[in-house]
């Protein structure tokens, strides 16, 4: 009883037992990070091409660029070795095919040269006015590819050239083979290029031989589709597809006339479809791009 009566000093009550406190801290950290990520996502979603966050991201991307370039350089010998072995395996069968193609192209080149000469004469006679032409009216900003499309969500690449090199929004991007896509985001020293294989991509194009126009969109299995070609038009297998360029000066096209896109590999139709199904094999292999060129107009006033 004496014990009960005495004033016993009780230990200070802990707000949380240590285990519960660690759980609280853990959940708090998760909540804070999730909220910050959601905040970044919201701002980035609302203003994807401008604003403080975009500028910060652009500077961050510029800071990461040397590391990306270094990574690409480290990987290049391995990639080259793989490509070398792979090409050796296919070289023999390709050789005969290429020899045949060279013969065909040689005779075609002679005809083309005389046609070009004739075309220039006619233009001079008619005092024909034309917009900027590919490639002579464009400066090629050569850039290496820093990152590649990583999955089903994005068909975009990041290139090593940005606003400081003269690249701007919607600048057409080509490889040695043909059209690759266009710039959709510009940073200080890097840019994002939307590839032709992106579902959002739509390029006005025409058949070089029959002059039939349509829209190049992505297709199945790495191919493209020349869409919006009505059934009464004629497109044949083997025809070359190029960019259409500006048709009306009031609505200048983003792509100049004449950039090669691909070759028609199949033409189909059905009773219920409104348009022809024209399948196009792209010339540029977007899955193994090393370097590309952004086409910047030589004369800034000139629109494609």
């Amino acid at each position: 009883m004496a014990v009960l009566g005495s004033s016993l000093q009780r230990s200070k009550p802990q707000p949380y037992p240590s285990r519960a406190r660690s759980a609280l801290v853990r959940r708090l950290v998760l909540a804070v990070l999730v909220v910050v990520a959601l905040g970044l996502l919201t701002i980035s979603f609302r203003s994807p091409t401008s604003g403080i966050l975009h500028d910060a991201q652009s500077y961050g991307s510029a800071a990461l660029r040397p590391f990306q370039v270094a990574a690409v350089r480290v990987a290049r010998p391995f990639r080259d070795a793989y490509t070398y072995v792979d090409s050796l395996a296919r070289a023999k069968s390709q050789n005969a095919k290429l020899r045949k193609m060279v013969q065909d192209y040689r005779s075609q080149a002679l005809l083309n040269a005389s046609a070009v000469q004739q075309n220039n004469d006619f233009k001079r006679l008619l005092r024909f006015e034309a917009g900027p032409q590919y490639p002579k009216d464009f400066r090629a900003v050569n850039a290496s590819v820093l990152s590649f499309p990583s999955g089903a969500f994005t068909q975009q690449i990041v290139i090593d050239a940005g606003a400081t090199s003269g690249v701007h929004l919607n600048t057409p991007v080509v490889s040695a083979d043909g059209l690759v896509g266009k710039v959709t985001q510009v940073g200080r020293s890097t840019s994002v290029v939307m590839l032709l294989s992106d579902p959002d991509s739509a390029v006005p194009a025409r058949d070089l031989k029959t002059h039939v126009s349509g829209l190049i969109r992505h297709g199945q299995g790495g191919t493209l589709i020349l869409d919006r070609v009505s059934k009464d038009q004629v497109v044949s297998k083997g025809d070359w597809i190029i960019t259409r360029g500006t048709v009306d000066r009031r609505y200048p096209d983003e792509y100049p006339y004449g950039i090669p896109i691909g070759r028609v590999v199949a033409v189909g139709t059905s009773d219920i479809a409104s348009f022809l199904t024209v399948q196009v094999q792209p010339l540029a292999d977007v899955s193994s791009l090393d370097a590309v060129a952004a086409l910047v107009p030589k004369h800034p006033r000139a629109k494609p």
Binding site: R19, S22, A23, L30, V34, S44, P48, L64, Q68, V158
Partner: protein, 174 residues
Amino acid sequence: MTFADGLKAAALLFVAAIAQVSIFSQLHVFGGVPQLVLVTLVAVSLLRGAVAGAVAGFFAGLVVDTATLGMLGLTSLVLTVSGYWIGRYGETTGRDRGHAPFLSVAAVTFLYAFGVLLVEFMLGERAPAGPVMRALFPTIVMNLVLTAPVYALVRFLLRPRERADYATEVQLLG
């Protein structure tokens, strides 16, 4: 987690993120792409717990989104949750089990793919479930191939903690 451990984990994830966007994203095998950054995150989370996993995921996502000029916060959001979840698994049932890294990588690859799909869908962006499903199996296989060497490297750099250091809510009674 000590400061030195934090630095090591940050360096590992930074290198993994840069390698992911510059090298690994190019390796398409049957539509799948190996995800080095995800495998590294799993290893760090298993060895260092939920808090470290969440922070590591946030950091790695930020580097990936910045390097690709992508939508900032998207990868961070999914990787933060992934890192936290794997960290909790490591702190509780997964510790000391040989199959834990492989099981975690397989599960988190699946959840990551659907997490990104869900966020894209909620944002009204393109969310093609078909290609994601087709690429999922090859991606899991490639990630599992990466798991053993990556986990061994991360384990070498970040020594496993003493058992008493683990924060756990699982209590043995009796």
